[in-house]
């Protein structure tokens, strides 16, 4: 089973918010749509769900063209950023309502809902209203609802952005295993590159309605296709050197090393990150970020360099990768 987006375009008035989008997500694959707000990632999700209609191109699930298929017939499990739980219904009813409108028998409803409640460890909350739940619990209910649908495709729209950082990290593996367990295509929208790398086995980095690069987290990190991708992925951000004969060079902070033969620099400030530390250096070619182990003793004015292999080179005008 595959989800395919072919040459998708969407515009509001005259401006295109999405253009020439090609995506293919296979069963058991989790594609993260990553980008800043306004890049078109949420629009893409809505187009797949049928909540919005593309102006160009087609969407297929397992070869079925979704044109003119209403959202209710697309068999899609979606987790909304707001969770979109029905506030007037209990948790159990929130889960039952879909089964009911899809015409499941009462015993079926009961059996399915109670098994998902058990799976998601929500039994004790079954008769509470959403307002009585914590953020993490609500998120679980939203996920449970999507799982209960037994959909052909999972769509997750910033599912963890309303949770605090600690909870977010602890939930990642659980969610990842739950959604991948279904062996269905998963599309995961986020603006958090760390989350994208943790959750997805493929990431599409988007900007201004275009996909800049699609690849595994590893590929995006090690060979970013453009300056945008290079800067968006990896924290602390990549160092971009001043252009030199039509080329912009990028060096990741961890690739900078102390070298007696290197260029002069002076420490502006340091930030402890735990096992490592970030050092901001003033050099003749501008300010540079450097990461070293926290144990390393760095002199006040270190000489630095980097391995030429670790240089990322980009064309000055197009910002595209050269090496």
């Amino acid at each position: 089973m595959t989800l395919i987006l072919k040459n998708i375009g969407r515009r509001y008035g005259k401006s295109w918010v999405l253009r020439n989008l090609f995506l293919e997500i296979k069963d058991g694959e989790c594609l993260a749509l990553l980008g800043p707000s306004g890049c078109g990632k949420s629009t893409t999700l809505r187009l797949i769900a049928g909540l919005d209609i593309p102006d160009e191109g087609s969407i297929y699930i397992n070869g079925r063209d979704l044109k003119n298929v209403s959202p209710s017939k697309r068999n899609i499990g979606m987790v909304f950023q707001s969770y979109a739980l029905f506030p007037h219904l209990s948790i159990a009813s929130n889960l039952t309502i879909g089964l009911k409108v899809r015409g499941a028998t009462e015993s079926e409803q009961h059996q399915k809902v109670s098994s998902i409640l058990t799976l998601m460890k929500l039994e004790d909350l079954a008769y509470r209203k959403p307002a009585q739940l914590s953020g993490g619990q609500r998120q679980r209910v939203a996920l449970a609802r999507a799982l209960l649908r037994d959909p052909e495709v999972y769509l997750l729209d910033e599912p963890m952005s309303n949770l605090d950082a600690q909870l977010r990290e602890s939930l990642r593996p659980e969610i990842r295993s739950l959604i991948l367990q279904g062996q269905k295509p998963v599309v995961y929208v986020t603006h958090d590159q760390q989350e994208a790398m943790a959750m997805a086995n493929k990431i599409a980095v988007m900007q201004k309605g275009n996909v800049e690069q699609i690849g595994t987290p590893n590929e995006l990190y090690n060979s970013p296709a453009s300056i945008f991708v290079a800067s968006f992925i990896g924290r602390p951000q990549i160092n971009l050197l001043p252009p030199e004969s039509g080329i912009i060079k990028g060096i990741r902070p961890e690739d900078i090393i102390i070298n007696e033969n290197g260029i002069n620099s002076k420490i502006i400030y340091q930030e402890w990150l735990g096992s490592s530390k970030l050092i901001m250096l003033d050099t003749p070619i501008g300010e540079l970020r450097m990461i070293t182990s926290s144990n390393d003793q760095i002199p006040e004015c270190p000489k630095i360099s980097w391995d030429i292999k670790n240089e990322h080179r980009f064309e000055l005008t197009t910002h595209k990768r050269l090496n």
Binding site: L51, F80, F86, P87, L89, S90, I97
Partner: protein, 288 residues
Amino acid sequence: MIGLLILPAALLIILIFGTPLIRYIWLSFHASSVITGLVPIANKGANWQRLINDQRFWQDSFQTFRFAALSVSLELFIALAIALLLNQKWRGRNLVRAITLLPWALPTTVMALGWRWIFNTPYGPIELIVNLIGLDQFNILSNPNTAWLATVLGDVWKTTPFIALILLAGLQTIPQDLYEAFKLEGGSNKEALFKITIPMLKPYILLSILFRLAQAFGVFDLIQVMTGGGPAGSTESLAIYAYLNAMRFLDFGYSSTIMIGSFILIVFSSIFSIYLFNKFKNIQGYSR
């Protein structure tokens, strides 16, 4: 501490709302009319006995109830439709929103005069249309069986926009997400109306019912102008009866009795209508 802080406000409210109520209750146990030279003379519940045996009071209660019940239900129904329409996105929506509010902004007496003219026989537009079609004259305001329906129409026309506005405000608090989630769950638009919209509008609907019931029970100027309570007293509301007793008959004792009597009826029927609404909701709902 907090109790102390709200004390002045509470006293003010009791003073403003409580004083007249207590005064009316007190007066309802006194004869106070032209006959007594307007001096209140205690008469041991004679007013209340009169009220209970007063056919006209019960007839007016019945009239007031059917007026309130029919207008409020029609208003809710139409207002919901209008609110749903105005909640959609379409060109000129803002203009239409403003226009729908016009009847509400119009003074009741002015619009009641308008309705009286509209129903005028033979010059009103309704009779003209009826004439054109070749039907007999309606004489809607001249017939005791139909005149009250005309007053309901006037009331519905005037207050539907107000309820529509309340419901529209309610609709706008429902996140679009919920409808999208419901659609993805396989629900249709119609199902969404009954399973999401109406249950979530419940507080707004209750507010409208309460507000409008209280208003409709006190209907005065609309009927006074449209029919004057006639024909044959068929459209007379409790408020008109109380008004007649106070301002025309100068019988303040009995007028107070009518007012307190109708107040009791209003309280009970409001409680009853909310109970009914909740019952209806539970048949529909999933809430447990």
